[in-house]
């Protein structure tokens, strides 16, 4: 499978009044065509910053200090604004977190979809409104002709999110980035929206990056999970493998803290400590080491490099024992 997007060694800093925030450090992962990869982490782990950096829509205070994001043969991080504008919206699309604030509040939703169709979809101005209605129908909005004239405030959260999806998919992109698409929606609506994104992705053969803090939801909806903590990728593995055989201590704690898996409240494990202050100059090489129960002397060295071609990548010197194979990961063996 060829990668639709390959992010390599991405580092991002933010300049703030109280110092430089090292928001992302050496983040690498890739998404194959037609595959769904979930970026999972708690707030402040750098999931959204990763997406924004790839899309070239970082806040002006943010700066990409290293890395590449290869989309086909274009490096999105080095592309000129003009080249980026060609790709963005047409070949890469994004669904934002809060549909109500991401949509234009003073423009009917049908017009907003038509705008994208005209700009990116190669649809004529005259034909666009009709196409927009079709798009609304495709995302499952009943009575689309009437709804096309509605403003975002006249629609429920779930319907606004459908409109966002229609806008994102208007130009049939090959990569979709969905940043917490269902936060703030009911579980029943969440299931419907996620089904819709999944079905459309399958239909268009689209690669999807799905950003969420909900490990259970990520597990249900993606083939591969990338776990982030404080701007690092700590573990990257196929979904089933990650749940059956978590190797990074943070991943294991995250799974243990998810209420779904527990039989009683006492069985739930809290994760001690909190994220390190990313403004510190003396950040340890492993940003989890200060909260980590498995910390050893080796943790003071720079994190182990991923073995090329490895399917299950763990950024840890002292990972949990592999439940499948005792010595599957050479880089961890040499360190131990």
């Amino acid at each position: 499978m060829t990668a639709a997007l390959a992010v390599e060694g991405l580092s991002v800093q933010f300049r703030t009044r109280s110092g430089v925030v090292h928001a992302l450090d050496n983040v690498s992962f890739s998404v194959a065509r037609g595959e769904t990869v979930a970026l999972v982490g708690e707030s402040g782990s750098g999931k959204s910053v990763t997406a924004y950096a790839v899309m070239g829509i970082l806040d002006p205070a943010g700066r990409v200090t290293a890395g590449r994001a290869m989309f086909g043969d274009i490096d999105l991080l080095a592309a000129t604004p003009k080249a980026l504008a060609e790709v963005r919206g047409r070949r890469i699309a994004m669904i934002f977190q809060n549909p109500r604030t991401a949509l234009n509040p003073i423009r009917p939703v049908g017009r907003q979809i038509a705008d994208v169709l005209i700009r990116h979809g190669g649809v004529s101005r005259r034909a666009a409104p009709e196409h927009a209605v079709e798009m609304l129908r495709a995302v499952g909005i009943t009575d689309p002709a009437r709804r096309a004239k509605a403003y975002p405030f006249e629609m429920s959260g779930g319907m606004c999110q459908r409109v966002m999806i229609a806008i994102a998919l208007a130009a049939k992109p090959s990569l979709l980035i969905a940043d917490e698409p269902t936060t703030g929606l009911d579980v029943t609506t969440q299931a419907v929206i996620m089904d819709l994104v999944g079905d459309l992705a399958k239909e268009l053969g689209m690669a999807t990056i799905f950003i969420t803090h909900d490990l259970a939801l990520a597990g249900q909806r993606s083939a591969r999970i990338v776990v982030m903590h404080a701007g690092h990728v700590v573990e990257n593995a196929p979904t089933k493998e990650l749940f059956a055989n978590p190797r990074h201590p943070y991943t294991a704690e995250l799974i243990a803290a998810t209420p779904d898996s527990a039989q009683s409240l006492d069985a739930l494990a809290a994760i001690p400590g909190s994220l390190p202050d990313l403004r510190r100059a003396d950040l340890p090489p492993c940003r989890y080491s200060e909260r980590c129960p498995r910390k050893i002397a080796a943790c003071a060295q720079p994190l182990p490099a991923a073995a090329p071609g490895a399917d299950h990548i763990v950024a840890c010197w002292n990972p949990l024992p592999d439940r499948a194979l005792p010595v599957a990961y050479p880089q961890t063996v040499s360190a131990a």
Partner: protein
């Protein structure tokens, strides 16, 4: 268990039209306020909360959960119905008067987003002290002592008491919100999605804190949430609400393991699980019916329900009792687990 709070036939209706000139005119043309269309936010809800019991209230946004808890905590007035705390009737007291009532301290509320429900110009200390000043008339040393005790109980380090909400993390703010509510020693604590804005790791800590507090003080909880996996762990009993009505209630574990109402079934099926078997899931289609003057003969779930027969369109299913569970569906029997546990 003796009932601490007994809510019977509670209604809360809002006029559907706003305050604009046009709607006022229409109201006049319709012949008075009685004939204005009404939003049935809470429609004939009855239930009790026992002493020391934890009740979960679940349902989708717009189903009336928040209106119901606001009515119970007496922040708003009910349109009809009775709310009894022990034996005292509270529903007749206007909300404004109840704010200074001697029983105000007995029902307290933890609001959804602690970041937004704490006055940004109050320090953590002032936020927790405020209800103590107003309801317990504590001053000076006694006040300081009580605030510090409660902060300690809620796991809030004392040096954080001087901070403003924006200087606290999400978890710490949630602790302030809880400390403020339990400071006056309530009998009933109403929690409106207290962990919705928190990360899982912090959520665990807050849930365990709530459980510990309950064990220490013997308070009752009414826990509003749409995270069913949390409700399953924390609550003894659960009420499922749909469009202003309770459609199912019963022991939390049983309701989630064998949901009887189709809405509960869809709700349970929609919860993402860590170890998903990938089996066929029940999906809801369409939008909920309008809550404005709903037809009293039609089941509220009709149209979205995968079942939806003619009977559902002509007779509103009443809440029927099966053992310790209640369901409002004509076809509940079909989903009853085999008689052993229920009879």
């Amino acid at each position: 268990m003796t009932a601490l709070l007994d809510a019977a036939d509670v209604f809360k209706l809002y006029p559907a039209a706003g305050k604009r000139l046009w709607t006022r005119l229409r109201r006049r043309l319709a012949g008075g306020p009685e004939n204005v269309p009404k939003v049935h936010a809470v429609d004939d809800v009855s239930f009790t909360i026992g002493k020391g019991e934890t009740i979960g209230l679940v349902g989708e946004s717009g189903c009336g959960k928040s209106t119901l808890v606001r009515a119970l905590t007496r922040l708003i007035d009910v349109s009809e119905g009775s709310i009894k705390l022990n034996t005292r009737e509270l529903a007749l007291k206007p909300a404004r008067v109840f704010a200074r009532d001697r029983d105000r301290a007995r029902i307290q509320m933890v609001f959804q987003d602690a970041g937004e429900s704490i006055n940004p110009r109050f320090t953590a200390f002032a936020a927790i002290a405020d209800p103590l000043r107003r309801l317990r008339r504590l001053r000076g040393q006694a006040l300081r002592q009580r605030v510090e005790t409660v902060a300690g109980q809620c796991g809030l380090p004392l040096q954080l008491l001087a901070r403003f909400p924006h200087q606290l993390s999400g978890g710490q703010r949630a602790r302030v919100g809880i400390a403020r509510a339990v400071a006056v020693g309530p009998d009933l604590l109403v929690l409106d999605e207290p962990t919705a804005a928190l990360d899982v790791s912090v959520q665990v800590v807050i849930l365990q804190l709530l459980q510990r507090l309950k064990a220490q003080t013997g308070m009752s909880y009414l826990f509003v949430s749409h995270d069913l996996s949390v409700v399953r762990l924390l609550c003894d009993r659960v009420l499922v609400m749909y469009l202003g009505k309770i459609v199912e209630s019963g022991p939390a574990r049983e309701v989630f393991e064998h949901p009887l109402h189709p809405y509960t079934q869809a709700l349970v099926a929609a919860v993402p699980r860590l170890h998903d078997d990938g089996g066929e899931r029940l999906r809801l289609t369409g939008e909920p019916r309008s809550p404005i003057d709903p037809d009293p003969q039609v089941c509220r779930f009709y149209g979205r329900c995968p079942r939806g027969t003619d009977a559902c369109r002509t007779t509103m299913p009443a809440l029927r009792r099966f053992g310790d569970r209640e369901v409002a569906c004509h076809f509940a029997e079909e989903f009853l687990p085999q008689p052993r546990s229920l009879s």
